[in-house]
């Protein structure tokens, strides 16, 4: 009863915020835009002919790009850019204020005077944010899933994995917002520090990848060990989108087969080296270590909230 009341309250709070509706509208607009894509011999037609993309180099003159290959390309863009970056960013902005609002002077005293343990109160609010992003992600993914199926005649059940993966990605980052919020009671501080942390998490991963791309850098052993060690500790935000793409491609047995020139071949070799390194790490290790980091931050925040004087 108490958790349900907190959940409903969080939903009402979200609904009162404009960004909730902005995200829903964006989901509908995005799906609508997807529905405006058509595949014609040798080209992709967007917005009823307003823009065309020549795909002859992939198909040969007059050939139609395989719809599942196209769909994979678009889906990956949806998962990586729209959901993985824009969606999570909007979700952080939308939910970073949940904890500070709960802890506002005059509001928190009423809440903690109820017969609910503080850790339950805190955890309920935390999980409410997860439900918020779950709803937003589910709406977007389901709409685009239906467009791919109905308009492109390509059903992508594996794409639905994007829902839990986006929630996981969001949770990796949101835990920072929660920790900052408990200590500062400030939404702005929570958003800014979280965005900074997100950049830092990605930066650590990219730096670690750079050591693979440029093996000479590994001669700086101390730096390499620090970065490589840090990669294990911080949430693997980029691994999430990588996993999403990997599982989607695996579901269709498709791989992109570009025909690069010499320089392109060289770059592709390096990218494949990075990918091989990532493939060597099982998904459960990547996700598990990230969730451990998240759990640690949430536990610290919960401890602080439970012991704080209001």
């Amino acid at each position: 009863m108490q958790f349900w009341a907190l959940l409903v309250d969080s939903f009402r709070e979200s609904r009162d915020r404009k960004i909730f509706w902005v995200m829903l509208i964006l989901s509908v607009v995005g799906a609508g835009a997807m529905a405006c894509v058509a595949f014609e011999p040798g080209k992709i037609n967007l917005l009823f002919g307003m823009w065309e993309y020549d795909v002859a180099r992939f198909t040969g003159p007059g050939g139609v790009l395989r719809s599942d290959l196209i769909t994979t390309l678009v889906v990956e863009w949806l998962m990586d850019t729209l959901l993985g970056w824009i969606g999570v960013l909007l979700a952080i902005i939308a939910t970073a204020g949940f904890i500070p609002a709960m802890m506002e002077r005059g509001a928190i005293e009423v809440l903690v005077s109820k017969p609910i343990a503080r850790w339950r109160l805190f955890l309920s609010k935390y999980l409410s944010a997860m439900v918020f992003i779950l709803i937003q992600a589910a709406v977007f993914v389901l709409l685009t899933f239906l467009v791919a199926g109905l308009c492109w005649r390509t059903w992508l059940p594996a794409y639905l994995l994007a829902i839990p993966l986006v929630v996981a990605l969001y949770s990796y980052v949101y835990c920072v917002a929660v920790l900052v919020a408990v200590f500062s009671r400030s939404t702005i501080a929570a958003v800014l520090v979280t965005l900074g942390a997100w950049v830092a998490f990605a930066g650590v991963q990219n730096l670690d990848d750079a050591f693979i791309l440029f093996p000479d850098w590994q001669k700086q052993r101390t730096l390499y060990q620090i970065v490589h060690g840090a990669r294990w500790v911080v949430p693997k935000t980029q691994d999430i989108t990588y996993l999403a793409k990997k599982w989607t491609r695996a579901a269709y047995g498709t791989e992109l087969v570009p025909t690069p020139d010499e320089e392109g071949r060289h770059l592709l070799d390096k990218a494949e080296a990075v990918e091989a390194e990532r493939k060597a790490i099982p998904a459960y290790q990547s996700i598990g270590s990230s969730l451990l980091f998240e759990a640690a931050l949430v536990l610290v925040a919960m401890w602080r909230f439970s012991r704080q004087d209001f």
């Binding site: 009863m1 108490q2 907190l6 509001a107 009423v110 809440l111 343990a117 004087d309």
Partner: protein, 323 residues
């Protein structure tokens, strides 16, 4: 550290409550307060005395540095008892996106009130505080007074045994304040205990039967209103004529003779009647015999060591206080 005490019959039994913020701010320095079941208890004191801190310790919003005591028979810090307590803090903030009805339902659900009872209680208390017609309106459209009424209703949604109200009449017009006072008396008649924190001493005098004065983290005075003001009781007799001939005898009764009148301190009715007999025997025409007592404000001023208080004529209805 909070230790468990034996079960008591007090609704609130606070013993040696200390609170230190940081390492330097000693907000409460060993507070002892007892509130009987069915009392309307008033806590008063100057700003910074520690009143709100004490209330928050009772409501588990603040952890005491050291304390013994119980609230409704349960140790301080026990969360389960909060299901039987209603609380409205000062300067409360409610979620602006909720309607009045939604807000009552939300907080009652957190207080573990079953759904069916929540509906019935919401209707009852919205009616009682005069907010029934506003139940479907978002509270960001409410005035301060309406918010206060809703807050009081929120504190009563779980049919509490103990109601803790911090400045309950804040923002209310005179009729609203009267209504709240009446509500508090009704709650008392229902057997509930009310713990009030208020700066409006005149209002505390009208409803409370016991009060405590908190000064600088310690209880300076505690007791019934009569106990606190009894020693200030004096009788003022005004009469026509001169009393020089009997001044000595009047003074032997403890009276202070003035022109056209006298003051007799204490509540000794025997001496009062002897003084009246003396005046009448000597042909002095008595105009008025008026009891006078310190008000709560006078007691507070005296406790704070400010200018000497002056007794005021008794005006409050004795029916509203019982000791």
């Amino acid at each position: 550290m909070v230790a468990i005490t034996e079960m008591t019959n007090w609704a609130v039994d606070l013993i040696d409550v200390h609170k230190i913020y940081g390492k330097t701010v000693h907000a409460l320095k060993g507070v002892n307060i007892q509130v009987g079941r069915g009392d309307i208890f008033g806590l008063l004191g100057p700003n910074g005395a520690g009143k709100t801190t004490l209330v928050k310790i009772m409501m588990t919003a603040v952890r005491p540095t050291r304390a013994l005591g119980t609230v409704l028979g349960r140790p301080l810090g026990h969360r389960g008892k909060l299901a039987r307590v209603g609380y409205l803090p000062e300067n409360h903030r409610f979620p602006p996106y909720l309607t009045g009805g939604q807000l009552l339902d939300y907080y009652a659900a957190l207080a573990k009130v079953p759904r069916a009872r929540r509906r019935a209680n919401a209707e009852r208390w919205l009616n009682r505080v005069g907010m029934r017609d506003w139940a479907s309106t978002r509270i960001d459209k409410y005035s301060k007074g309406m918010m206060q009424r809703l807050g009081i209703a929120q504190a009563l949604m779980n049919d509490p045994e103990l109601v803790v109200l911090d400045e309950p009449t804040d923002g209310l017009d005179p009729m609203g304040r009267r209504d709240v006072r009446q509500l508090l008396l009704e709650l008392r008649q229902e057997g509930k205990t009310v713990f009030l924190n208020s700066h409006l001493l005149s209002e505390l005098e009208m409803v409370c039967n016991r009060v405590a004065i908190l000064v600088d983290g310690l209880v300076a005075r505690q007791g019934t209103l009569s106990e606190l003001t009894e020693r200030s009781l004096e009788y003022r007799i005004t009469f026509h004529g001169g009393a020089d001939a009997i001044a000595g005898k009047l003074q032997s009764l403890g009276a202070v003779v003035e022109v056209g009148g006298l003051r007799l301190a204490g509540g000794d009715l025997k001496k009062l009647n002897e003084a009246i007999d003396l005046l009448r025997t000597h042909g002095l025409l008595i105009d008025r015999v008026q009891p006078q007592r310190f008000s709560l404000e006078d007691v507070l001023v005296e406790v704070l060591g400010k200018s000497p208080p002056v007794a005021s004529p008794i005006t409050a209805s004795p029916v509203m206080r019982s000791e």
